[in-house]
């Protein structure tokens, strides 16, 4: 048991209250660091409590309702976050009801999904929320039984006093507990006492999913709701010139056709305000099919954009001027322009020792270039959002990963204070980074404002796939130097891409393990928009680096696993440079566990390995391929994970399995190309996705966790990047050909 001081962030607990009909409601600011919430906390009036959305409610019947603050898109937080609260509250999971909390920027901070961060930043506040309620219930019992609070124990939602034999359910004392002052300190359970964490309760909305309940943004139905779609330019580098709506306005079911402007010209973009096509034609009608047909008939003229700049507050780089060139882009140009950049010196991000000398004196130099193509997100649910905007208020509802951030852009654009805007989060039919952005939420709001009616904006698959905000084209050039004893003496990585470099953290492995180390980056302006994509940047750096290390190990004549372990030993005993951006013990830990669990492999099995630290979690993987009827086939993937304390083992396994399948699919087939600014792929007939029957889909996947008492980290992303390298390394063993350029299918033949 640990005593956790709540003193510092005590004011972050808004207060407890009796719920209508009796029971306890406990509210608290999502993260204690939310300063604005703290200030407001002291003067919440009783009337505001009526609509108060808090962390947890305990009814007189003993039912516990836990609000999950973060948006759910398949990563499992809707189950995992309440498990943490229930654990510390000490209740039976079967009496817990989980509800998605609405967006409330005052009540919760960091109400968003991304960077595998929901659990990482939620761990402590959620534990404290549960522990605080438990403490108040114990106090209430102590007062009503006239016994010292220290003697009141709990078990599965029941309070006990041993010597007097008294007991009461949480429900019976919930109303009394509501009047207990929020305690200054709370006890948190010791890891060994966890009873819910470490078990695998099923997805809390599993039944709704398998029965087709309307959980998603696309499924929203509201009274008098219209359907809206947008028409955006067919190519990047184009904008709207004019349109003729007359023939469309008379089509059946069509109500209105007009232009919207997502942001005003002088607006400074925040990180997630990226918009590809600022001027759009909106078509509003009665039904999706009618609006889709009208879209086809609309006469629109497009024109080329001018070169211009956009001011943006980048999350990492701060205020930036983005140059948007007007030239229509081709995939060939992305390739040649990247090659030119790679031939020139880049921005030096890290330098240890004297790499130039080391390369000059090397006995052997290994050099390779890796390419990652543009990728579209292809969430199975295309973008959609419901909006009802009036002069006084706005109600929005739909799937968004970062409602707590994007609502500010909406407020700015509508000229309406955030307090007047209500945003309800729906389940997201896949998120993968693309739903972090605000634009289609704003589009829906502007359309509703124009037609003065509730509207559901829906994107077609084509609108979605050709709408920008992609994982950009990346390139990485690696060099490694070995001395005559095959020791790695120098390592050089230079990586860049369109709009951004995938290399922003130069302190990751193998930095710290090599005496002479150089990391450089570059980037090229583009008019194609980019954005977060599952495991941003590491989704490329992992495959490049881990494939390259395999090549270096081979050149050095060392087993690839031993090669990595030797380098990590160096980091542990005598690291090079001042900064090492990973825990060498934990990275070595997953590799050693992999060695143990994957075994040595059998004859005829070609194994590729990979190990990577990304988004807080350490992962190592071994992918086994056999050749069947002349074709490579994936037998098993063994994956070891160190994500700290494992909250929901089966839920995390599902995440890892999905990431592995997705990673294999993306590495093999993911590819968006351009001709004169037009994406060459716009639906699943041209953009290939991994499917059943694909021989590279693993027959079996085993996941093993490192036992740990370290605070938990997330699992939605970390198993995705390294599998692409494990695949490349296994295919190399099977076919004798190194794969440097994705999609691999192009080189495999």
């Amino acid at each position: 048991m640990t005593i956790e001081k709540t003193t510092l962030d005590r004011r972050a607990f808004l207060r407890s209250s009796v719920m209508a009909g009796g029971g306890l409601v406990l509210g608290l600011s999502w993260l204690a660091s939310a300063a604005s919430a703290v200030e407001k906390a002291t003067d919440v009036s009783a009337s505001e409590w009526a609509n108060f959305n808090a962390f947890l409610k305990i009814g007189e019947d003993g039912r516990v309702t836990i609000f999950s603050p973060n948006p759910e898109g398949g990563q499992g937080v809707l189950t995992a976050m309440p498990m943490i609260v229930a654990e510390e509250l000490d209740v039976d999971w079967k009496n817990v009801v989980v509800e998605q909390a609405p967006l409330d920027t005052k009540l919760y901070s960091r109400q968003y999904m991304g960077g595998s961060n929901s659990i990482r930043s939620g761990w402590n506040p959620l534990r404290k929320a549960g522990a605080t309620a438990r403490q108040m219930l114990r106090e209430a019992a102590a007062q009503s039984w006239h016994v010292p609070v220290g003697e009141v124990t709990t078990a599965k939602g029941v309070l006990h006093h041993k010597s007097s034999g008294k007991s009461a359910t949480y429900g019976e004392l919930a109303t009394a507990a509501a009047s207990i002052p929020v305690p200054a300190d709370v006890e948190l359970k010791a890891v060994k006492d966890f009873a819910i964490i470490g078990t695998s309760p099923k997805n809390v909305v599993g039944k709704e999913i398998v029965t087709g309940k309307p959980l998603f943004g696309y499924d929203i139905q509201e009274e008098d709701m219209r359907i809206a779609m947008i028409v955006h330019p067919p190519a990047f580098g184009m904008k709207l010139k004019s349109f003729n709506a007359s023939s469309v306005k008379t089509m059946p079911g069509i109500k209105d056709v007009f232009q919207i402007k997502v942001f005003n010209e002088d607006y400074v973009w925040e990180h997630f305000d990226t918009v590809t096509f600022n001027e759009l034609v909106a078509i509003v009608g009665n039904s999706t099919w009618e609006v889709m047909n009208a879209k086809l008939m609309l006469e629109v003229e497009w024109e080329q954009i001018q070169d211009h700049t956009i001011t943006r507050n980048d999350y990492y780089a701060g205020k930036q001027e983005l140059n948007i060139p007007s030239k229509p882009e081709n995939s060939d140009w992305h390739k040649s322009a990247s090659a030119e950049m790679a031939a020139q010196p880049g921005n030096v991000l890290r330098k240890d020792g004297n790499p130039e000398d080391a390369f000059r004196n090397a006995a052997k130099i290994i050099e390779s270039t890796f390419i990652g193509p543009w990728l579209a997100h292809n969430n199975m649910e295309p973008y959609s959002f419901f909006a009802h905007v009036t002069d006084e208020w706005a109600k929005l509802k739909g799937p968004n990963q970062k409602p707590g951030l994007t609502v500010n852009a909406l407020s700015h654009r509508l000229g309406m204070p955030v307090e007047k805007i209500e945003v309800e989060m729906t389940r997201m039919g896949g998120a993968f980074g693309r739903r972090s952005y605000a634009h289609w939420m704003i589009e829906a709001a502007l359309i509703s404002q124009h037609v003065k009616a509730p509207v559901k904006l829906v994107y077609s698959r084509e609108d979605d796939m050709t709408g920008g905000i992609y994982r950009p084209y990346y390139r990485a050039d690696y060099r490694a130097a070995l001395d005559k004893n095959n020791k790695l003496i120098a390592f050089h990585v230079k990586a860049g891409g369109l709009v951004e470099s995938p290399l922003i953290n130069p302190n990751l492995f193998p930095a710290g393990a090599v005496d002479n180390y150089l990391a450089e980056s570059w980037q090229i302006d583009s008019n194609i928009t980019i954005g977060s994509y599952r495991a941003p940047r590491s989704n490329f750096m992992a495959v490049a680096e881990q494939s390259f290390l395999d090549e270096v190990a081979e050149a050095a004549g060392i087993d690839p696993i031993e090669f990595r372990l030797e380098l990590l030993d160096r980091v542990k005993t005598n690291p090079v440079g001042e900064r090492v951006g990973y825990d060498a013990d934990r990275l070595a830990g997953v590799i050693k566990l992999l060695k143990e669990k994957a075994g040595t492999g059998q004859a005829g099995v070609h194994r590729g390995v990979s190990a990577y630290f990304a988004h807080g979690t350490y992962v190592a993987q071994a992918l086994d391929i056999i050749i069947e009827k002349g074709k490579p086939k994936t037998k098993n993937v063994c994956c070891t994970v160190d994500c700290g304390i494992v909250i929901n083992p089966d839920g995390l396994k599902n995440q890892a399995e999905g990431s592995i399948v997705d990673g294999i699919g993306v590495a093999m087939y993911g590819n968006l190309t351009f001709t004169n600014g037009v994406p060459d792929q716009n639906n699943f007939d041209t953009y290939e996705m991994i499917r059943y029957g694909d021989p590279l889909l693993p027959e079996t996947i085993d996941i093993h966790f490192v036992e740990s008492e370290v605070d938990p980290t997330g699992m939605g992303e970390p198993a995705f990047p390294p599998i692409m390298a494990a695949l490349a390394n296994a295919l190399y063993k099977a076919k004798g050909k190194r794969l440097y350029s994705q999609p691999f299918v192009n080189d495999l033949g």
């Binding site: 398998v210 696309y218 039904s287 199975m380 089966d650 399948v661 997705d662 639906n683 499917r691």
Partner: protein, 151 residues
């Protein structure tokens, strides 16, 4: 516009729509049955899978005027209480991640088991190859189909 009488999940419905409207949008927009999903509109993803007289079809390219008196089954009508063996197997294996593709996956799997109660691996792969899952739940889906086949 024209009037169509449709038999869906054992009940009669009547809609007044353009004859070229895909059944997908009749279900979703006109009858407010949201279980059948839109993912591509061109028969490439399987999210819109329904049964026509027990056989899996893509409702996004099935026009309402082609249905006639064939009986439509959607995910809402697959079972009364969500307890069809395929649905139960899905829950047992906790298949879903985001869940968006799953109604379509379940409808494809249920149709397969209707016609072939004990499919082999290859038969499962062929029957299911039209259903995409971006979340990558294929391995669990296969296990769930096997569980359902044995129940």
């Amino acid at each position: 516009m024209a009037i169509f009488k449709l038999k869906i999940n054992g009940k009669q419905y009547q809609v007044d729509v353009d004859p070229s409207t895909p059944v997908l949008w009749v279900l979703r927009d006109h009858l407010k049955m949201m279980g059948t999903k839109y993912g591509c509109g061109v028969a490439q993803c399987g999210a819109c899978t329904i049964h026509l007289d027990g056989e899996a079809v893509r409702s996004c390219i099935t026009f309402v005027d082609s249905v006639g008196d064939q009986e439509i089954t959607t995910i809402e009508g697959l079972s009364e209480n969500g307890d069809h063996p395929v649905q139960e197997a899905w829950l047992e294996h906790d298949v879903a991640q985001c869940g968006y593709c799953q109604p379509g996956q379940i409808m494809s799997a249920a149709a397969l088991l209707n016609s072939n109660p004990h499919p082999g691996d290859e038969e499962i792969e062929t029957a299911m190859s039209g259903n995409i899952c971006r979340c990558g739940t294929y391995t669990r889906i296969k296990q769930a189909i096997k569980t359902a086949a044995n129940s």
